[in-house]
Point group: C2
Chain length 451, copies 2
């Protein structure tokens, strides 16, 4: 049996490795436009800020490593035609000297084509010094450019924008982050929690401009200024972190159904064409809270989807669950994470919710080095937890995981408030901040019932 | 209404504070033999090792602080008589000059009398330089004595023993830890996991002797040698960390039913005498895994029991759930924790189990400062998780909490393996070590079914 996988990101390589884990004989070929594989694009900001020494460090495997597992990886190759009737695809292959066209047949095709940066239709995005972060090659160029310049404007205050902004700040640049919406990290955090992160960023020396879209980038060959709302900002470089768009061209060509944004798949990660699977940033997933389709462009989602697709391809049965989009980030010393729905998103979807909050410490009060921790929990009026956001200078990620499990298992705030957590002075409080937030939610529900 | 609480540890004060939280009018009196209240005895080792500056720091409240909440605390007072027929008790009160006997009546009595150190019946435990850690006063004395001496023997390699041993080592003493059983931390860790902690201790310069009980302490007025099995060890001081015994004398006097070790209570924390409640180290609890009675001498258990007792006393209904004994400790840089049953304990109780293990990292491989993490998960043959042990130099506590929730919600290893965890390079791996251990457990179950 032959499986061809288009794309060498987390989703594509996870599919390949998992197929091999479950089956020794299947012929696996991964085709990718990139020349580096198995690196973590989200780690680029950490190279900029100096936490990770160099880009080479974030490349975890070479194509040869996969050959040892009997997985064939074709780099610098662009698939331009898929025929699902003939179970064949064609790709351009650049062998260093010239482009040749090659053909490949498959029994199963896995589309892991990822996403590209979305660039708003404004003037000046073609200028030198304007970058969109996506691949390691762009990472190299940003670093090189930043080393010779002083003023950076980062457009978009989502995770990638903020992490990159911090990286550039650590390189010594003056950095302004701009966001069209009135808050940072709008997808994962409510405004009250986002403002804690924004204050941290500002204290660290980043300037943040909210509520204004980028209007134009000005310059002669290279960028000189960026116009944000009515402000004209000096800029030697502009990073466009304005979102992503799933790459669906090949899926369309193959006749796969497309949803609102991306490729439609069932819980087996199978498209509408039975022997074509799709995984990663190029597919739509089911949101566990709202019950609607959504996107989940996270490395963890990609890896989990690759595993599910692999299992189904080798004939084991496995289903991808609706997503909670559990995420975490660390910028400077600040760690923040979220899972499930924000309050804003729940309200936007017509849900009636209450929130429980706590502000506490990460260790016993008297233990040196205890940090402030903020927890916000979102619950329905029958007490079911549907979301949680946590910010602190340590120990956020695993608390998000606890909350991910709680939400997945339909735990109520009163159930969580009675839960048994571990405790030792150097690592926690005798009543965990999560428990305190759950208790606060219980009180609010009780008061609401009395009204 | 009058509530009298005997004992000012975590259980007693949690009961008092929670009653006041739910009811402004109830008259609350706490009677305690101690002169310091609201301190954390488990923090004593951290004062010894210098992490916390002084004993004063670990005292979180004074009796006056409780008076502000209209909670009356009587210190240096020993209850010697309880009459449940008359709803009265008598206590000796030392006013600094002389002992006087006082009487107090109650509508509800809460026994939070805690536990005392168990000292095995051997020769020499009366000598100067032999200590049992329990109260802050003993902490003072240990520190004073240790400052003038060189060789310490700590008897008992449970948490208190190990933490104290490390504290004394940090003070510059030569420390030998001895344990009767063939492993350290026998209650919470299986031998394979315990040996990781032991190796860390030994690398840090502690000597550990396993499988030998203390036979005798030798000395003229002050301790000079300790005989452990057949070895004679030089010792300027001996710390007896040989376990605890619940204090049940007053409960017996009041006619409360006593179980195998401690006071019997129902899920409301009520004893067999309807208006007497009992909480903390002096009660028996129900083990969620084995279904048998057990002890849970943990600060978190005490705090949660106090809340349940308080709610029931004020007329709200609340039930204390069977315990999983979620615990964590940090010694030096090493954090280790456990929840639910060990494999040894499950097998001892006649359960058939398999284990899933993982050895991974706490951060992305290329991120500086990533630490090794070891996870061991215990599952029944139908996949239900019943226990977990985790060791790493960071981020153990919250993972234990995740596993506590997983066990409480009857999650299976295959369900957990599909769970959505958060990920960012500086704080986690794209596939969490917990997920890897759950996957390992799934494989083992699958292999078992094929056999």
């Amino acid at each position: 049996m032959k499986v061809v996988i288009i794309g060498s990101g987390a989703a594509g390589l996870s599919t390949a490795s998992n197929i091999r884990k479950y089956d020794e004989d299947i012929e696996i070929t991964v085709i990718t436009r990139e020349s580096f594989i198995a690196y973590s694009p989200c780690a680029i900001p950490y190279v900029l800020c100096g936490k990770v020494d160099c880009f080479e460090d974030i490349v975890m495997h070479k194509p040869e490593d996969y050959l040892e597992k009997n997985i064939n990886i074709v780099i610098n190759a662009e698939v331009f035609e898929v025929s699902s009737r003939e179970n064949k695809l064609k790709y351009n292959f650049n062998n260093g000297y010239l482009k040749v066209v090659k053909e490949l047949s498959y029994d199963y095709l896995v589309i892991a084509s990822g996403a590209t940066s979305f660039i708003p239709p404004i003037e000046g995005t073609h200028l030198n010094g304007v970058f969109k972060i996506r691949t390691i090659e762009v990472g190299f160029k940003i670093k090189e450019w930043a080393e010779k310049n002083h003023n950076a404007v980062v457009v978009g205050a989502g995770l990638i924008g903020l992490e990159t902004a911090y990286g550039l700040k650590e390189m010594g640049l003056n950095v302004i982050v701009t966001e069209m919406l009135p808050q940072i990290i709008p997808r994962s955090l409510d405004p009250d929690m986002a403002s804690i992160v924004r204050q941290y960023m500002e204290n660290e020396g980043l300037q943040v401009i909210l509520g204004n879209p980028i209007e134009e980038i000005i310059g002669d060959k290279r960028v000189e200024k960026a116009i944000i709302g009515e402000e004209v900002l000096n800029a030697d470089m502009v990073i466009m972190a304005t979102g992503i768009r799933p790459q669906i061209k090949l899926a369309k060509m193959a006749g796969c159904d497309i949803g609102r944004w991306a490729i439609l798949v069932n819980e087996k990660m199978q498209t509408s064409v039975p022997n074509i699977y799709a995984v990663g940033d190029c597919v739509e997933v089911y949101d566990a809270i709202t019950g609607q389709n959504t996107q989940s462009p996270l490395g963890t989602t990609a890896v989990r989807q690759g595993k599910i697709a692999a299992k189904n391809i080798v004939g084991m049965s496995a289903e991808f669950r609706p997503v909670l989009n559990a995420m975490v980030s660390k910028i400077g010393q600040l760690e923040f994470g979220a899972v499930g729905s924000t309050k804003s998103w729940a309200v936007h979807n017509g849900m009636e919710v209450i929130t429980g909050k706590s502000k506490a410490l990460t260790k016993a009060r008297y233990y040196p080095g205890a940090k402030t921790i903020d927890v916000k929990m979102i619950c329905t009026l029958n007490g079911r937890i549907i979301g949680c956001q946590i910010i602190a200078e340590e120990r956020v990620a695993e608390r998000i995981d606890t909350m991910s499990l709680a939400i997945a298992k339909d735990v109520t705030c009163s159930e969580l408030a009675a839960m048994e957590f571990s405790y030792a002075h150097p690592v926690s409080m005798v009543i965990d901040p999560i428990i305190l937030a759950a208790e606060d939610a219980c009180w609010k529900l009780k008061r609401l019932k009395k009204m």
